[in-house]
């Protein structure tokens, strides 16, 4: 018997495998198998195989999780069957169907030795510096971070992002590439193709560990908070095991491992982290940190609007 988990590939799969799945297997003796793919790819795949689900537990981002839920792809969660969820922070209680597994930020990452003289990243505004012409890479699968940043800079709030489109268009000359996944982002940095990126904090730390000198900046406006979540696939025939898996994920030790290995922020409040780890940008251990360092886009709104954003983005920002 095996439990099938749908997750991102690459280092995220390895992370889940080494931490949550290891704990789960230790507790239940059941092996874990993965099916992997990009966030949207997997949503689509799940949709395509609705009648005959390929997985039991699904990892996805908080906002795409709403799409799963809205399309009936997630089971409603019975929180009583997840004892460890007691300590779950509020920001990680996303919907009745999906809850956080770890958190991170999307922020500005850069190669200091390839940065033009005098450029610093105190504010998101610095991305617009003309010195950065043709140096920036953004994620193509999710434009919400830069849209939120632009809206904040324009002082209009992300709901009124249409008022910030001029600001966004002004960034075009600086964009060199849109990366399609984390590996792509790593390549772009490691080859020096794009020395500045809007990047996932966890990914930046991974690249550091590979020996590349990447630095992260937390702009004054805050970094865009993201929570990776998990849910139980609707129609799964291993519901019990799935609950046990979710519970294992929220185990404080497992959460500490996640922070240790991948620098993902714990989403439960009862975790003890070494000091230097706790101090890293993108790892939140106190309610104050959760509140002050983050720029939050409301999940449900984000989920509803992401399609529109993507379309607008691909039609206006990519073609050059």
């Amino acid at each position: 018997e095996t439990l099938v988990v749908s997750s991102w590939g690459g280092s995220f799969r390895d992370l889940i495998d080494e931490t949550i799945a290891a704990k789960f297997t230790e507790e239940t003796g059941v092996e874990v198998e993965f099916i992997t793919g990009g966030t949207i790819d997997r949503l689509n795949q799940a949709n395509l195989s609705k009648d005959n689900p390929e997985s039991d537990v699904t990892f996805t981002t908080s906002h795409i999780g709403w799409l799963y839920r809205n399309q009936g792809l997630f089971e409603e969660l019975d929180m009583s069957r997840i004892p460890n969820a007691e300590n779950l922070v509020d920001q990680a209680r996303i919907s009745p169907s999906h809850i956080g597994a770890w958190a991170y930020v999307y922020t500005i990452g850069f190669l200091p030795n390839m940065l033009p003289e005098g450029v610093t990243f105190d504010s998101w505004e610095d991305l617009w510096s003309p010195e950065l012409a043709g140096m920036i890479a953004l994620p193509d699968f999710d434009p919400s971070h830069i849209i939120a940043a632009a809206a904040t800079l324009e002082g209009v709030g992300v709901e009124n992002w249409r008022d910030a489109t001029d600001k966004l268009l002004a960034l075009r000359p600086n964009i060199r590439a849109l990366y399609t996944n984390d590996a792509n982002s790593q390549q772009l940095l490691s080859t020096g193709e794009t020395p500045v990126q809007v990047i996932l904090s966890m990914n930046a730390y991974h690249i550091q560990s590979q020996g590349l000198d990447v630095e992260l900046a937390i702009p004054a406006e805050g970094a865009v908070l993201g929570v990776d979540t998990m849910g139980i696939t609707a129609g799964s025939d291993k519901i019990d095991l799935a609950y046990q898996f979710l519970n294992a994920a929220l185990d404080p030790e497992v959460q500490a491992q996640i922070a240790e290995i991948k620098k993902g922020s714990p989403v439960v409040s009862n975790v003890e982290l070494p000091e230097e780890l706790a101090a890293l940008p993108g790892i939140f251990t106190t309610p104050e940190e959760w509140a002050e360092q983050t720029l939050v886009i409301p999940d449900e709104f984000r989920a509803e609007t992401i399609g529109e954003w993507r379309q607008w983005f691909s039609e206006n920002m990519t073609a050059n």
């Binding site: 590939g9 690459g10 799969r13 099916i35 992997t36 795949q45 790593q186």
Partner: protein, 269 residues
């Protein structure tokens, strides 16, 4: 022969040009070979340290193994089905006239000009609309459609060059149509069938674009697994896989060349 300066010039530019072009063809494979032995996860030229770890990783990475098995299964089934259907159709095409022959031919050959992504998309939509399961057979069907024209062409050419007199001689000797087919036509078509089938198998093994649309995690082919790997990891494991791939293909081609003479198979003599 006493050559003019121009002739010498021509000879030498010709030689240099030829070397340069062959170099261009081979360059990526040399580079990927160097990269595959690079110890670091981040590429650099020339590599600072050498190691075989990426080869080890390639063998350990489960998706490659599963993808290889899938690809082999799909290529075997796909090529066999395409060979049976394609050879039959080539025979019919070569021998008979019937209504709608042109239409049938047009449809079966259309994958030669329909882009593979369109074929993949079409079959994906079709399978969803018809509620067909997205299993290995869907991938096999996709590949059959894509490689069929190549099989038909290859067998058709053999049939065109086939000396009908052999069959007539056999018939005059009392062989019934089935008997003649079995004892004369098929044995003499073996080279055409073999090269058609082999070509189909190789094409199917390599097919990527249409497969990308119709596979799921459990039916993922090797090329799709490789593509996904590049999307998810930045390390040079794929370089190691590529080197193995190139070596395997080169060996197969050399063997084929030895037995069938590629010039003949490709009609470039």
């Amino acid at each position: 022969m006493r050559k003019s300066l121009l002739d010498h010039l021509l000879d030498w530019t010709g030689r240099i040009l030829l070397t340069a072009i062959l170099g261009f063809v081979l360059l990526p494979f040399f580079v990927v070979a160097i990269a595959s032995f690079n110890d670091g996860a981040i590429l650099s030229f020339p590599p600072r340290e050498w190691s075989l770890r990426w080869y080890a990783n390639a063998f350990q990475y489960r998706d490659f193994g599963a993808g290889l098995v899938n690809s082999l299964k799909i290529a075997a089934f796909g090529a066999t089905i395409a060979l049976i259907a394609g050879a039959g159709f080539a025979y019919v095409l070569n021998r008979y006239d019937f209504r709608l022959k042109g239409v049938l031919n047009g449809i079966l050959m259309s994958p030669l000009i329909i882009p593979n992504f369109t074929i993949g998309l079409g079959l994906l939509i079709l399978s969803a609309a018809a509620s067909l399961p997205r299993n290995l057979w869907l991938v096999v069907a996709t590949h059959v459609i894509i490689v069929l024209p190549f099989v038909v062409r290859s067998v058709y050419v053999s049939l065109q060059n086939f000396e009908r007199r052999y069959e007539q001689a056999a018939e005059s000797l009392g062989g019934s149509p089935w008997h003649v087919l079995r004892t004369v036509t098929l044995p003499l078509l073996v080279p055409g069938l073999a090269s058609g089938g082999l070509f189909a198998a190789i094409l199917s093994f390599n097919e990527f674009t249409a497969s990308l649309f119709v596979v799921n995690q459990s039916t993922q082919t090797l090329p799709v697994a490789m593509y996904n790997y590049v999307r998810e990891y930045a390390d040079p494991t794929l370089a190691a896989v590529s080197v193995l791939y190139v070596l395997a293909v080169a060996v197969i081609l050399l063997v084929v060349h030895k037995f069938f003479r590629l010039e003949k198979v490709l009609n470039v003599e």
